[in-house]
Subunit: 334 residues, 2 copies
């Protein structure tokens, strides 16, 4: 027993030693090699330096180093359609192939006819319907398997797997923050059960540090008496706009000192984060790179960035310009 | 910059080194000194040994070592009334003293007259009202200050501060689990914003690892433009009974491998925990010690333990008998 205890307890030691080693390696090299040497990079490095400087005016204790990242358009791409919506559309096709009787019914008919206009006819009703039929009526465990299978087989128009559409500079930033004692959270309008399937592998963020929108879930015993959680077709929480500070309060219970977003849906999270005492950092990715990624902002249907862009200018938040600030966009060698 | 990075990264190293040191110390001594040498203690030690034994049949990887603890009656006492309800009653008195116009109104009148029967007249309506008026109409930050002030000044009938009514054997168990790589969570029917005020200091459990019931919260800008979260008088989520597995899924996103409760409100959490694959441990505290604590179970208004006691017998869950299993109840020397 004593040996076992020692062995178990030395795992964190090993991890910490590796952190120190990698922090030392980073220090010698550059902790953010995919970030060009410009204002954004310096703002980040300065902020991390000052909040970790013991005895300094801006020092922040370890337990308060909370960083909140939006997901769609901030940690991974969101064009030409939100990836979770693409999952829903692909699921619709899979379900219709399995059960041809569905093919004449909505939302199946419009999806199969690639009739996105038909789907959007009544506002977003058709799209909501497509989301609902693919995100409910099954258990949480079954849903996770569907997402995992989809990620393994589906390909983005750029030919990459969807979980390879993550931003390399952000992976470096997440690792750099964690090496400096930050706890990194996702705070996204995306579905929490969708994101939790890949967040740990893609970003090193465990399920309990993923905050997102959710549908109602019901506890029940299966026909064979097995406890399970059943996903109902009812939206329970929208973690977007003013919902983001509410979600942060509900799940994290502490105000972040750093928040990173890319759209008006992040505005209130950025306000809330910077509204606290002491050193705070608010960052917004501006999608300006039509050649390597996409260029969109004030008039985009997806990831609209308008009010937050104005407020960033007024309040001195950091605008990360994708075209000039990022040396690379996606992870190399995949 | 390099030096700062190294210093920041060495904090986890220091903590890990202390963990190893304390784990080594525990190994030489006894990791659970307040637990009598009986079946319950051995079940716990055996379980932790087997899930941490690398290469063993029951080995559980670090990231899946999730432990869920109920709070009232499991981590701290819950008699003669739930402490959060006592907080509400004390707040009612404080508010009425500040604003005498309230004294003739319910729920103030009944609380001031110590008329608990009057308060409970329509089911629990009066008590719910007392909870509502003390848990809403203020910001989350203001509420945290009220709880902190109350904890600092209020005293339990036993003369202890309320946050000293924690169970010493459970503090040792939490520390032992964490030293073995477990992430410890509270999953309680209590209010999440109430518990988060003391959970870190009392149990070493940070706010983001506290799952509880919650009221609706609204994001807004104050008159001076300061972002704040305003507590509304509307129940949003009841983390009790079948709500516990739902809360676990919502906040943690992984099924625990160990759950510890003390009442029928924990039944579904225990079912859900033991319903997963691999090694699982379900424990229930049976309050059997009228001399040192309280003795109650099937017929108690508070912490009723009836169905879960029967199911524990059928399913072989571990019943911790407070009288015989615990050497001490509360922390010494306070």
């Amino acid at each position: 027993m004593p040996m076992v205890k020692l062995r178990a307890a030395s795992a964190p030691l090993l991890i910490a030693a590796l952190c120190v080693w990698s922090a030392a390696a980073l220090a010698q090299a550059d902790p953010l090699p995919s970030w060009n040497d410009g204002k954004s990079k310096h703002v980040i490095l300065d902020f991390v330096r000052k909040v970790t400087q013991e005895g300094g005016r801006d020092f922040v204790p370890l337990d308060q180093r909370i960083a909140a990242f939006d997901n769609d358009g901030t940690l991974w791409a969101e064009q030409p359609v939100y990836f979770q919506l693409q999952f829903a559309l692909d699921e619709i096709k899979r379900l219709a192939a399995q059960n041809p009787a569905l093919k004449g019914k909505e939302p199946y008919r419009s999806v199969l006819a690639r009739d996105l206009k038909g789907l959007s006819a009544n506002g977003n009703k058709g799209l909501m319907q497509a989301m609902a039929v693919t995100h409910s009526g099954i258990t949480t465990d079954e849903f996770a398997v569907l997402v995992r299978n989809w990620l393994a087989s589906a390909r983005h128009p750029t030919k990459r797997a969807y979980d390879e559409m993550v931003y390399q500079p952000q992976l470096e930033l997440l690792a750099f923050l964690r090496a400096n004692g930050f706890k990194t959270f996702i705070v996204s309008g995306g579905g929490v059960e969708f994101m939790r399937v890949f967040a740990e592998k893609a970003y090193g963020i465990p399920p309990e540090q993923v905050v997102g929108s959710s549908g109602s879930v019901k506890y029940r015993l299966s026909a064979t008496g097995k406890p399970e959680l059943y996903k109902e077709a009812k939206v329970e929480f929208i973690d977007d706009g003013p919902g983001k500070p509410v979600g942060i309060n509900r799940f994290i219970g502490r105000r972040p000192i750093l928040a990173f977003g890319n759209s008006d849906g992040d505005l209130q999270m950025l306000q809330y984060t910077t509204g606290g005492e002491g050193a705070r950092l608010a960052l917004i990715i501006h999608h300006t790179d039509a050649a390597r990624e996409w260029a969109y902002d004030r008039k985009s249907q997806i990831g609209k960035l308008d009010k937050a862009l104005d407020e960033a200018a007024t309040k001195g938040w950091t605008i990360v310009d994708m075209k000039t600030d990022w040396k690379t966009i996606f992870p190399p060698g995949r």
